[in-house]
């Protein structure tokens, strides 16, 4: 062992380190938080998917998960609260050869940014949206989120939450997403596989990742530490690939339906634009982004 505590003889460097910004590690996440686990799965998916990582960009909003973009060694954009999806929409349409991933939290994507998700899915914008759902606003100290199940206490629901939460896979399905899956921080292999699969698919793809927030959500509701939440995920998750998303409702510490729910084909926004305008305008139409992008003048 050298003075830094590293075993030089053993190759024990974290295998996903090469897709992370090593000069930005350590990250800011709390012990037991699931965001890092999800990032590890995503890093593995990036390494395995075969895409040229110079052509993969990640966009985050604001919040704990919003910091993800800053740790990935990709073209990465840490934008404003709730607006990762419209930023990513502009980025993708501007340079269609990019694979653009939105990686953000439940409050960011479905409270302040909810409208943008609905419309990106309706348009079938060619984006992978990874939503880390920890049922709470972590960065600001544990307030009620649109994903908080009925019952648990949050700082702005001090007597327990009485607001109905979103069932995110159902929302994504209803809005037209081409791929919808849910896994938890416990299901690392399934999650990495889903991310890999979704990276290679077209259209608006949505993956919900349930993650523990031991510092705020668990502590406030006496749910133990991060490991206790992983035990809960292990015991109460039921894999139902192809399940009707309507049934995937989450309840407080209740059963969790996980799996790949939707995998279908729809033309993307850009494909629809090109197809439609080439018919409507004939030869006067200048096809856009069909040759790997970079059309027009910079």
């Amino acid at each position: 062992m050298n003075e830094c505590g590293e075993y030089k003889d053993l190759d024990i460097q974290n295998p996903v380190l090469k897709v992370l910004r090593q000069d930005r590690i350590p990250h800011i996440w709390c012990p037991g938080c699931g965001i890092g686990t999800s990032l590890n799965c995503f890093a593995r998916a990036l390494m395995d998917c075969g895409l040229n990582l110079d052509k993969v960009a990640v966009v985050s909003g604001i919040g704990c998960t919003g910091r993800t973009a800053g740790y990935l060694n990709l073209d990465s954009f840490h934008t404003t609260h709730g607006r990762a999806i419209p930023f990513a929409t502009g980025l993708k349409l501007s340079n269609p050869e990019l694979s653009v991933v939105v990686y953000s939290g439940d409050g960011d994507l479905f409270a302040i940014g909810g409208n943008h998700f609905f419309h990106a899915a309706r348009r079938n914008m060619d984006l992978l949206v990874v939503c880390v759902n920890n049922y709470t606003y972590g960065m600001t100290g544990g307030q009620v989120a649109p994903t908080t199940p009925l019952g648990p206490t949050q700082t702005t629901m001090p007597y327990g939450n009485f607001e109905q939460s979103f069932n995110l896979p159902f929302v994504a399905d209803a809005c037209g997403a081409t791929y919808v899956a849910r896994w938890t921080a416990y299901h690392v292999r399934q999650l990495a596989k889903a991310m890999n699969e979704a990276l290679l698919k077209k259209g608006l793809r949505f993956i919900e990742v349930l993650c523990p927030c031991p510092t705020l959500y668990s502590r406030r509701n006496k749910l133990g530490d991060g490991v206790d939440q992983m035990k809960y995920y292990k015991e109460k998750s039921v894999i139902k690939n192809g399940a009707d998303t309507k049934e995937a409702v989450l309840t407080f510490q209740g059963e969790i339906i996980v799996g790949k729910f939707i995998d279908r084909e729809r033309p993307t926004w850009l494909d629809s634009m090109n197809k439609h305008l080439s018919v409507a305008l004939g030869d006067s139409f200048v096809p856009y982004g069909t040759n790997g992008g970079d059309n027009g003048q910079n």
Partner: protein, 386 residues
């Protein structure tokens, strides 16, 4: 470099300011617009939606102005020149993203065809109500550039200037039209592409690894740029960041970043003076104006001169940064300034600040809904002359 001819509709046209602004953007190389309908600006995006499929580029109507004002910034980092277009209520929704463009140094043109506020106001009659909002509406300190045209021809010509300045200084540039300028129809002459000078993006020639996102030199405070997909693996954030673009939240980094963002405009303020002077030398009274109000002022000034008064006219083309030094100097030579605006007195605050009580400044406010009566401005000139 010269304009890309595919976007230049060379010829003599009869078109309104909104349409001319769109043609100016196309000639300047704009190939991505995200917008949301709002009168009296909508014709700009309608024309872009019709024209861009034949030029090569994208128009997308977003779900709101918040989305539009950030989608354009994503498109900049994908490599395009961009614009968004709105009016007062939409501009209010865009405020946060002005700050994002400032902080990340994202070159972008923001067109505001102004109407009466506050709130829904008097839709959709002319006003110049947003002149201070663009400068102060986003949180934090920042500097921007704002240009005000007074005719369809200027909507074309100055739009090219707006795009060029946004590339030169890597900041949001506001194109401050109003309902009358947007909807008036006049002759617009669009030159050949090789007669139009456009400023290319300041892309780096450095290799990945050698390039730092926000590295500058003492002589040039505007960093070089790259776009996503070119192998640089950049990071951009609205957090306080260092030269690498990495968030680094210390007092020292904040001080350094803020100072440069302000200084890159302030230190170049002398290059950003664009005031059209009409007989200001030797004048007793100088009327200061911008946008549509300048055309009304013109009529009042003619009448005042006919009465024997020595009246000059200083028309602001670039409103922000406000040409402080120029007016400070002029203040020692004239007896008074008269400043009509289609608001309750916004830019006149800047004039007052520049001349700090040296001479009389007569504000000629108007709540909006129509333009001034020339007589109102004439009376103000007569009053100032006494």
């Amino acid at each position: 470099m010269k304009a890309d001819s595919s976007g230049v509709l060379t010829g003599v046209h009869f078109m309104d300011g909104d349409h001319a602004a769109c043609e100016g953007a196309l000639a300047a190389g704009c190939r991505f617009v995200a917008g949301y309908p709002i009168t009296p600006s909508t014709e700009v995006v309608e024309r872009f939606a019709a024209r861009i499929p034949k030029v090569g580029g994208v128009f997308i109507q977003m779900e709101d102005e918040i989305a539009s004002s950030i989608a354009i910034q994503g498109a900049v980092w994908g490599g395009k020149k961009v614009m968004s277009v709105t009016s007062g209520p939409g501009l209010s929704l865009m405020m946060e993203h002005i700050g994002f463009a400032v902080c990340t140094e994202t070159p972008s043109v923001w067109v505001d065809v102004q109407r009466c506020g506050p709130s829904t106001g008097l839709p959709t009659q002319p006003a110049q109500h947003d002149m201070q909002q663009i400068k102060w509406g986003s949180h934090g300190d920042y500097e921007i550039i704002a240009i005000s045209p007074n005719s369809p021809q200027e909507c074309f010509d100055l739009m090219i200037k707006a795009f060029n300045l946004s590339e030169t200084y890597r900041c949001p540039v506001f194109f401050m039209m109003d309902e009358v300028v947007g909807h008036m129809t006049e002759r617009v002459e669009i030159p050949a592409a090789d007669k139009i000078e456009v400023t290319p993006r300041k892309f780096t020639t450095k290799a990945p690894g050698e390039f730092k996102m926000y590295a500058t030199t003492p002589d040039d405070l505007v960093p070089e740029m790259v776009k996503a997909g070119d192998g640089y693996r950049i990071h951009t954030t609205g957090l306080t960041h260092d030269e690498r673009g990495y968030p680094l939240m210390t007092v020292a980094v904040q001080q350094k970043m803020m100072t440069r963002l302000i200084d890159k405009i302030k230190r170049n303020a002398h290059k950003l003076v664009d005031v059209r002077m009409d007989n200001c030398e030797g004048a007793d009274i100088v009327v200061v104006s911008y946008g549509i109000t300048s055309r009304i002022a013109h009529a009042a000034i003619d009448e005042a001169r006919a009465k024997g008064l020595k009246v000059g006219h200083a028309r602001l083309i670039i409103c922000w940064p406000f040409p402080e030094a120029l007016f400070r100097e002029m203040a020692s030579k004239v007896k008074a300034f008269v400043f009509p605006e289609l608001n309750m007195g916004q830019m006149v605050r800047e004039l007052n600040r520049a001349v700090v009580g040296k001479v009389k400044v007569v504000s000629v406010p108007h709540a909006g809904g129509t333009v001034h009566e020339p007589n109102t401005i004439l009376n103000a000139i007569m009053e100032a002359a006494q």
